[in-house]
Symmetry: C2
Subunit: 436 residues, 2 copies
């Protein structure tokens, strides 16, 4: 819609989702200067020079969606072993294949996922995996924003532990702030049940030294919680508190099985929880206590988890699941209203990832936003666009996507990645894994 060299441009006739306390929608104008939104309002802003203007008629503009937990490269294992018991799925399907992943596999698997995410309106994602340089390359090329972290499993010799920790530190140092500031980094011991306490604390120390946040899997299944109690005499939240993790800004993934006391601790330390409803349901992990977490003041965001346990990267689906399942479980149809689900998928996500200028449409925020075409049967009548976005929309309704002020998806097509090649290379990578 605009030339990539344009510094200042405007949308007219748009419907903008601002979701502040007083007002959820503004119809009118949005002004973008370089990578920032500088104005949203009903009145046309007064500008001296001629600037490009695009017509936002019949488009609903939303903040770009923020996916706070995943393993992008696992798209190569999408549909490879579904509907199996968890241990069979992991031990016979996922782990033997993941062991064979090369840098190249991670590059194409991550490309496939970033392509799907951008086209589906996700403008920021957190990724925890191995061969992270390749994921960072994909982020750089694609124009997406990302929080990247080398997830380390510590069930190995001390020497290998040291190597992996150093690799995680090097990656976090090298890439923090890269790609025009679109990449930030974290330290991620994979989980309390895969990292012995003394190894876990080395990540806490590294996060302090580098002054970056921490991420880990926590309390995803009943059995891992029971194991934690058996091994350390503590449930996972108390265990991580004891290891000092929460002295750093932190976000934990899943948090399905939590006691009241654990919820209080998470609230006290401002620990964010990445709720992964699709993955938690599909793997039969259970249903997280999201309404209780929100009531306690915990910042709850949404993640798809890896595409092998979801099996897509549709954040509209995660927002809808969050809005639906907690009503059904609680018996309260007012639980997690549409606007709250949208906040979980946008501003709460940005807050959880410690990105202050992302996640809402407002002057001073990064120009990360998406447009969906509301002139479609499932958005008629035009009653409540927030409801429509949560209860009716899907990722394929996304027409245009901008990140950092640059358009990356136009009329449903990705401008920055070679879709046909990525599909081909990802398919080949999967076949290669099968055959070696």
């Amino acid at each position: 819609m605009v030339n990539s060299t344009t510094k200042k441009w405007m949308i007219k006739n748009g419907t903008f989702t601002i979701l502040n306390n007083k007002q959820s929608i503004v119809k009118g104008y949005m002004l973008i200067e370089n990578d920032l939104i500088t104005y949203i309002g009903e009145e046309k802003p007064s500008i001296d020079e001629e600037i490009p203007v695009i017509d936002g008629n019949n488009l609903l503009f939303l903040p770009g969606l923020v996916n706070t937990h995943g393993h992008a490269a696992m798209s190569l294992l999408r549909g490879y072993g579904d509907d199996l018991a968890l241990q069979i799925w992991l031990q016979e399907k996922m782990w033997p294949m993941e062991e064979k992943f090369t840098s190249k596999d991670v590059y194409w698997g991550s490309s496939l996922s970033v392509l799907e995410m951008l086209k589906g309106g996700t403008t920021t994602f957190l990724d925890m995996y191995d061969h992270m340089d390749q994921v960072a390359n994909v982020v750089q090329e694609s124009g997406i924003r990302a929080v990247l972290t080398r997830g380390v499993i510590g069930l190995c010799s001390e020497e290998v532990q040291r190597q992996k920790l150093q690799e995680a530190i090097n990656f976090a140092k090298d890439w923090n702030g890269q790609a025009e500031g679109r990449i930030t980094t974290m330290m991620s011991p994979h989980a309390p049940y895969t990292c012995p306490p003394d190894f876990f604390t080395q990540f806490v120390q590294a996060a302090h030294d580098l002054d970056i946040p921490m991420h880990t899997h926590m309390s995803e299944t009943r059995s891992e919680v029971a194991q934690n109690v058996a091994d350390y005499g503590l449930r996972p939240v108390q265990h991580l508190e004891k290891l000092g993790m929460f002295t750093r800004p932190s976000i934990v993934a899943h948090g399905v099985h939590l006691t009241d006391e654990e919820i209080e601790i998470l609230a006290k330390y401002n620990v964010g929880v990445s709720h992964n409803p699709g993955s938690n349901l599909k793997l039969a992990s259970g249903i997280a206590r999201i309404t209780d977490l929100l009531k306690a003041g915990v910042t709850v965001s949404l993640g798809t988890d890896g595409p092998a346990s979801n099996n897509n990267l549709d954040m509209f689906e995660e927002m809808r699941l969050a809005a639906l399942i907690h009503k059904g479980i609680s018996g309260d149809p007012t639980a997690i209203p549409a606007a709250e689900a949208l906040r979980m998928g946008t501003i709460y996500g940005a807050k959880s990832l410690f990105l202050d200028s992302v996640g809402s449409l407002a002057p001073g925020m990064k120009a990360d936003f998406i447009a969906i075409n509301t002139d479609q049967a499932h958005f008629i009548p035009r009653t409540d666009f927030i409801s429509h976005a949560i209860y009716s929309a899907c990722s394929k309704d996304v027409e245009h996507v901008w990140v950092n002020g640059k358009q990356v998806v136009k009329n449903g097509a990705c401008l920055t990645l070679d879709e046909e090649r990525i599909r081909h290379e990802a398919q080949s990578a999967f076949e290669g894994l099968l055959n070696r």
Copy 2:
């Protein structure tokens, strides 16, 4: 793809979902003669004459989806009052507006829904509402297949009851078998809590007289079950058994709150249950005991319910919800595997609606089928197309739709309905309801 006058035509290079016990996918050819599928197989069928052939490369063919419970015209109230307590939603939002619905409103509301359903791959739907002649007109014009029934609320004088019953009988008589056989009819007292027993039994008698099946809402909420026990000393299933409903072929909608004994009775009489997961979650009605129903041998199908409580008519979403939530609730990741969810959305739906020749791709079945384009990021790698259809697809992945051998959607556009006009008229109808 083919001229509508063609009697015999073929698809080559297709991937066909046959879902029988031995095999789920066939790659090869499908032959269609008039309204029937006459061949599916790997080998090219030997045909003497020249017939039109379409290339099914990169297309996954599935049986058309079967939506077994809904109120299409309620699309006019989509997004009009979400996230409210049930009684406020009904008494302050739905009922005052529905009271104002005219025939014209029902026509445009139903047109909007049928448009959305066809484009999303639904080829058969059950509709229970008022002004049913209008719904039948839409079915006739659009080319969709439907089971139509005038839903009658009996909380009125005996005279009005008589009028409504007669209207339901007349509609069922007049339209059964119409629209080249695409329309069948049922008798539908709205629910045990809205139809006094002696009125309910008159519907049973009429269904016997007309030799057609019955449909009703049953056990959707805890409070209606409690009310049934208080009023009649019986839970709803025993109550309906006593009223003789199950002497007719029957399908009940919802069935959320059921005891073991009630499940046994449903199984004994072969009563189908239309599971409406999206609506049950959104209205916080609860989560139906679907794995127990299936274990007991009950035919469980899927319905969207009305678009005001969903808020879309995406049967892919209902299949995915069915596959996901019962895993999450039971803690068993093998509960309702992808293939079973697909059967619930297709063949079990057809069986529930007593349509013997609909719901699967096989010789002798009606040519009701859909094609989704698998050459997309979220369907790569090509591991398991059934998994992809359930866990990754959405209604907007549907490219082509055929009903009764005729193409009704081509490249995502509906060939039989005027989409732009329907959107406009539906929006006007909603505004008219607001203003009068």
